[in-house]
């Protein structure tokens, strides 16, 4: 069987486009054809924009022909989580309250990717407003894990991860507030990186928890993740939290290896109840990195066990404030209520939001309400300081930290829907990173006996994405996870 275009990595495709061995139109048609064949099973996409993608691909081919590509990735088709505003293309964040919403402008990252010439094939499914860890909480339909269609792909960026894993597209953007890029990446044999808070602009990204949300790539290889991050890591004056810290060349040091690096393994990230196959795969990944010259050091992050409670006070509090804007006045759904404006607010929000979103709005409103603010929200912000400090202390001793991304492999669809706390536990290893604002990446590190993917999480110092990517690449080089595709 000859390899299809769609099996190429983003950078391999980019090289072929540069040599004009394939065209962007062919690559985009391949994506669309694959979506046509498999997406009825996987359901990664809320919306496919064939016309827009092909028009962008034609324009890219014309540029390549004129030897004037906009960027190395010019012509490489990608998908976007439906949380990114796309001018003229419906954007819902997986919620009924935004059904039919046509953004009047592009998110900064969308404008950057369009400006770099990447055709956008479609908008990927997600948990409503990114609240969830399975993509089952999309208001429209659940996405299925391409490795086992009876299982969830993780979430909330599950549509993006499933699309990349299914080879429906070459790469995608997701967002990560508590693990929403890394956890689905781990569960689908893809690479996902959540950059340092502030590294990538949040302008035009539908807000969930503003002090935690961050945009990042989901790809099949570490080098692709580096290239896609490079394209979006740009200071944006429109986002007051966007960093002015200089951006290094993520690809140039990628093959540098791990010799001499000190890598910490935190004992708190190996807990009773986690899947022994996950623990085994992660420990053997650490052993491999040791063979490659890294020094593995036992470290402690003592406040790890408080991260879940801290996160589930801070994130819902910020969400309850952010989601106050969905009131039926300026855009989105409006309930026709008798009884005036106030009643319209109540009915619009009751009919527009799904159960998990309402639950988190309630939780956040409670944590912020008079009499409880100090005991819950302020307390959580103080514990957040301690969690962040744990990492800074560990990074005095080590260059990066290794852990499992998820305590388990992909779980069955429906398995955790009735118990919100069980679903929240899916993020125990990914949440602390967001609270501390540090970069974190998940790279494939094995498969369970049942054939389900396992992810290794690599956490780095603030703005040390280059090192995180380099460690991931050093591990990836001796494997062929990107060459392994699900049978669909």
């Amino acid at each position: 069987m000859t390899p299809e275009i769609i099996d190429l990595s983003m950078l391999e495709l980019s090289a072929k486009l540069a040599r004009r061995e394939v065209s962007s139109v062919e690559a985009t048609r391949d994506c669309l054809g694959r979506i046509e064949r498999v997406d009825a099973k996987v359901r990664a996409f809320l919306r496919v924009d064939a016309k827009g993608a092909l028009a962008a691909a034609e324009a890219s081919d014309a540029r390549r022909k004129a030897n004037a590509p906009l960027s190395p990735l010019d012509g490489v088709p990608i998908a976007l989580k439906d949380i990114f505003l796309t001018e003229g293309v419906e954007t819902t964040a997986g919620s009924r309250i935004l059904a039919g919403f046509i953004p009047p402008y592009d998110a900064t990252v969308v404008a950057l990717l369009k400006g770099a010439g990447l055709p956008i094939v479609g908008k990927a499914n997600q948990d409503e407003f990114a609240m969830g860890s399975s993509t089952e909480l999309s208001a429209f339909f659940p996405t299925h894990n391409p490795w086992d269609l009876t299982r969830a792909p993780g979430g909330s960026s599950g549509g993006s991860a499933a699309a990349v894993a299914s080879r429906e597209v070459f790469g995608a953007l997701g967002t990560d507030t508590g693990g929403s890029i890394r956890q689905p990446a781990a569960l689908t044999n893809t690479v996902g990186i959540k950059p340092t808070y502030g590294r990538v602009s949040r302008y035009g990204v539908i807000a969930f928890a503003s002090s935690l949300d961050q945009v990042g790539p989901i790809t099949r290889t570490v080098a692709d993740a580096a290239a896609l991050l490079q394209a979006i890591a740009v200071h944006d004056p429109r986002d007051s939290t966007s960093s002015t810290e200089s951006v290094p060349d993520y690809l140039s040091g990628l093959e540098g290896g791990v010799a001499g690096m000190k890598l910490g393994v935190p004992r708190e990230y190996f807990v009773p109840g986690m899947d022994p196959e996950v623990e085994q795969a992660v420990r053997s990944a650490a052993a491999e990195l040791e063979k490659l010259g890294a020094k593995i050091i036992d470290v402690s992050l003592p406040h790890t066990r408080f991260a879940l409670a801290t996160y589930y006070l801070i994130a819902p509090a910020e969400a309850s404030s952010n989601l106050a804007r969905y009131d039926g006045v300026r855009y989105g759904f409006r309930a026709l209520a008798a009884g005036g404006l106030r009643e319209m607010y109540f009915q619009t929000r009751a009919a527009g939001f799904g159960p998990e979103v309402k639950r988190r709005i309630m939780l956040g409103t409670y944590a912020l309400s008079a009499g409880y603010y100090d005991a819950y929200y302020l307390k959580a912000q103080k514990v957040r300081t301690l969690i962040r400090r744990d990492f800074l202390t560990a990074f005095e001793q080590v260059d990066a930290i290794l852990s499992p991304t998820s305590p388990v492999t992909a779980f069955k669809l429906g398995e955790k829907l009735e118990d919100p706390l069980a679903m929240y536990l899916m993020d125990i290893f990914t949440l602390p990173c967001n609270l501390a604002g540090i970069p974190g990446m998940s790279v494939p590190c094995g498969f369970s006996k049942a054939g389900l993917p396992i992810g290794l999480q690599i956490l780095g110092r603030h703005f040390d994405e280059a090192r995180v990517l380099r460690i991931g690449r050093a591990f990836e080089r001796d494997h062929d996870f990107a060459g392994r595709a699900p049978k669909l």
Binding site: P104, T310, Y312, A324, R330, R342, A350, K358, M362
Partner: protein, 95 residues
Amino acid sequence: MKLSLDEVRHVAALARLSLTAEEEERYRHQLSAILEAMEQLKAVSTENVEPTSHAIAVEGLLREDIVVPSMDPQKALANAPAKVGTSFAVPKIIE
């Protein structure tokens, strides 16, 4: 931590959410269980610990005070459920 129905209704009112009787009961149980799990934070000593609102300190990001063009009003209004001229229209507030 056991929430009362009145507390659930109070919070729902603050959040401008109208809940069915069944939802009130479900959220009362679920939020009670979640808040109970949060109680463990009380065990953490946070004396003399400053709260963190953002993990990365950002300062001096104020832009120059220069007027730049804003979005065309009709474009900004394109998604409005109801509009009058260049304004968003809402149900009557006062008789």
